[in-house]
Symmetry: C2
Subunit: 487 residues, 2 copies
């Protein structure tokens, strides 16, 4: 049976009207009452543009309080927000706009020029909308958990991107699963630096409305600003990806974080073990997690309880979630399958992809992993990143994890390259301190890795290709060879 | 769409196997892994008695770890637990057993003799079951939130009692609504003294499984033991009714509770304002709440945030809940209606009662109350307790609240009595310190109450009639007159 709950933002505006919902970099605060007021007003202006229940509305913006207001506003109409990655090309964006049947495109003022070549019936900046007259419509007071709220396209490194549909229920259960794992403290404040057009970023603002918790909103990750915020602004939680942890550790130096800072929630793929060990030494409360767009943010997290003993693990599935390994090999490594009320009901308008991705009610994630004897998940790699060399399975993240412990290696990416003899061989892309030699790297690797896992080529690069969430994009590594001559 | 989650006890046995689930008065502890093991074993023994998915199984027991195991065991089979009040007469119990179509009755060893005259196809004590051989059946690993888990009869002061059905979802949402209000701390420990056959008691054990939180289990309320437990056993929360608060305040004297004790959740009807003020002076973290069997425990609670300013209020509806006042009178007092996923889907096998109690998806509670300008709920009284005297509405709890502030009055109950002139008049039943005279009481009342609210008769009694939850049973007050001569 479909559950109905009161609109979550209206609820907080009633329960905690004067409590801050959003805090900006400059210290400006917006209470839940104010956020509700602005969101409802914006909704009535959107309604004047013929946006109705079920309309698909694109949003192209970097993190901005107006983007939050626009998303909440769509929920007050019952319209669907299609969140677009600002780093994509016009061609990529147009594919998503058409595929998602977007009628109206909303953009931040900064993204207006980027929106110019995009196909949408109407295009308006947030400011355009603010300047409109509101329509006299009745807004939504209840949320039906089976209704779709957002569509976010998966990065789509193979084939075309797919539009992941999130219902209100998916977001609700994700927030509740996380709260049951991390606890709920009345002084919690979440620092948001991940882009809101990814589910890991978006989920923070939805948690804010469900928990009645303030979010400290940063447009993007800036290591110095984030460091200062954690040290001095009462932040208790932050969501990060690996590269941010590395930079924050450098900033931290010999200091320690204040004790109210209780959770650095780490997503975006397996992290090098050496990094996690350094974080542990520095008493950084790091919680490695596992999740994807389809699971509406993390679905497994290593709890504080186990963090010290299970370093490198992504923990166990959250209370409402289930996880299992299918077709395990002799090392118990197989594809990770997940199930739970935070898992998407499917891809928009793409029955084929939905059918392929689900077995009964289990989502096949395309990720490889295993469970240890105590049931803790270790994510090995994306199945598509697996390198098969002379019949041996090679997991790029294992090599990355081993080599990143070497002094002088700042960042590393491993990818498979076609090879006439072995089928594929691993090759390495390294951001170094400019003092390392390839010879030293080979020597370091030979002592620690089986012969077939040693990278056959090493390329020094200035930076690794990363997506808008700062995740390593492995399939772009090879193309960096052609752009470099120093290899 | 029906949501499916992993079995909550199995989940905690996986997430926190060594964490205590139950702690007994003598200090014995049962971990989540042990509780799961015992519950599954008990389930397999029940299966040997032909208890199957959908079977209705009566449970007659006072608070006992074996009762918890039996309830969890039924969930591992998918059977429905019909929880029976041990204070009822055989006739009352037989009505419920037949109405609920109970096939098997389980009792604690102490209740075996009470079970003798009861009608059930099979009757077994917990020990009988333990001594059986288990059947080789597959147990439930997932809970479907739409399935019925428990049936609890409402006290039924008018007409016949009705069997309130609770789905797994009702219990889940109740627990989540409470957590979003009270927060979730990793060191929480809930002291359980309310009878488990009432939903307020039962809900503590379900929260335990959902949160992974230990419960300190007491068979019944004993003021000295409870006081000692709060002072010395790391208790952070307790659920109580008004009379328990009175006794605990006496025990507390000039001391204060340890600071980790963060919530005394008060249910069971409106509490006298003077009591709440005394609790406030003594820094007792009292949270007045509002709920009933049909709402699977509290549905509104006064949050810590507002406790000091809104004394006497039951707060606001929990995050997933809605509440409104229907047909308000000139003082804005009307019937309280509630809605939310913790509200029962209806009474077992009683479409008529279900139809009468619901208007659209709103439950008509039969309670009278109003919302103040800030939206805080004040419960005035049960609609059926309302006294109408010469056309004026008189709320017994208002008179009780005023008079209970008088020195020498320990407990007070007000009820309406038929009157030839006025229709009804209020009369008072008082437990006093034996020094008070009726004259003094009338004088006290005259200064503080409108004339028509002053009790027309006062009876001194040794104790007030209370149900197993220690709630005042007003409709039994009048019958105490005939048993007393000192009136």
């Amino acid at each position: 049976m479909t559950e109905t709950i009161p609109h979550w933002l209206s609820k907080q505006a009633n329960l905690a009207p004067d409590h801050p919902a959003i805090e900006l970099e400059d210290g400006t605060k917006l209470t839940f009452l104010e956020l509700q007021h602005k969101s409802k007003l914006f909704a009535k202006k959107l309604a004047a543009m013929e946006i109705r229940k079920g309309s698909h509305v694109g949003i192209l913006s970097t993190n901005d309080v107006k983007m939050i207001i626009a998303i909440h506003a769509l929920s007050y109409i019952g319209a669907v927000a299609v969140l677009l990655n600002t780093r994509l090309t016009s061609e990529e964006l147009n594919y998503q706009l058409e595929d998602a049947k977007v009628s109206v495109l909303l953009t931040s003022d900064e993204q207006l020029s980027k929106a110019e070549p995009l196909h949408a019936h109407k295009k308006k900046s947030f400011t355009d909308v603010e300047n409109m007259k509101e329509a006299n419509v009745e807004l939504v007071s209840e949320l039906h958990l089976d209704d779709t709220f957002t569509i976010i396209y998966t990065s789509g490194t193979t084939g075309f991107p797919k539009g992941v549909q999130h219902t209100y229920g998916n977001h609700w259960w994700s927030a509740i699963g996380s709260a049951l794992n991390l606890g709920l403290l009345k002084d919690d404040k979440w620092l948001a630096v991940l882009p809101m057009f990814h589910v890991g970023g978006l989920s923070i603002y939805i948690k804010s409305a469900i928990y009645g918790m303030p979010v400290l909103l940063f447009e993007k990750f800036d290591d110095e600003k984030v460091h200062q915020a954690i040290m001095h602004r009462g932040v208790t939680m932050i969501s990060v990806v690996t590269v941010m942890v590395q930079r924050l550790i450098e900033k931290l130096g010999d200091k320690v974080y204040p004790k109210e800072f209780r959770c650095m929630l780490l997503g975006g793929g397996p992290a090098p073990k050496s990094l996690l060990e350094t974080a542990k030494e520095k008493h950084i409360p790091i919680f490695q997690s596992y999740g994807m767009t389809e699971t509406s943010s993390q679905i497994a997290t290593l709890s504080p309880h186990d963090a010290l003993e299970k370093i490198g693990s992504s923990g166990k599935p959250l209370v409402p979630a289930q996880l299992r390994i299918i077709h395990p090999d002799q090392d118990n490594i197989g594809e990770i399958a997940v199930k739970g009320p935070m898992v998407t009901k499917g891809y928009f308008h793409n029955q084929d992809a939905t059918k392929k991705s689900f077995q009964d009610e289990w989502l096949l994630t395309g990720d490889l992993g295993y469970l240890d004897d105590d049931g803790f998940l270790y994510v090995v790699d994306r199945r598509k990143d697996l390198i098969i060399s002379g019949g041996e399975n090679i997991y790029p993240s294992e090599i990355e994890s081993v080599l990143s412990a070497m002094n002088g290696i700042k960042e590393i990416g491993i990818v498979g390259k076609q090879d006439g003899t072995w089928g594929q061989v691993p090759i390495a892309f390294i951001v170094s301190n400019n003092e390392l030699t390839k010879e030293e790297i080979y020597q370091f690797a030979e002592k620690r890795l089986a012969k077939y896992k040693i990278p056959k080529e090493v390329y020094f690069v200035d930076a690794l290709p990363r997506n808008a969430s700062n995740k390593l994009v492995r399939n772009k590594l090879l193309s960096t060879i052609n752009r470099r001559s120093d290899s």
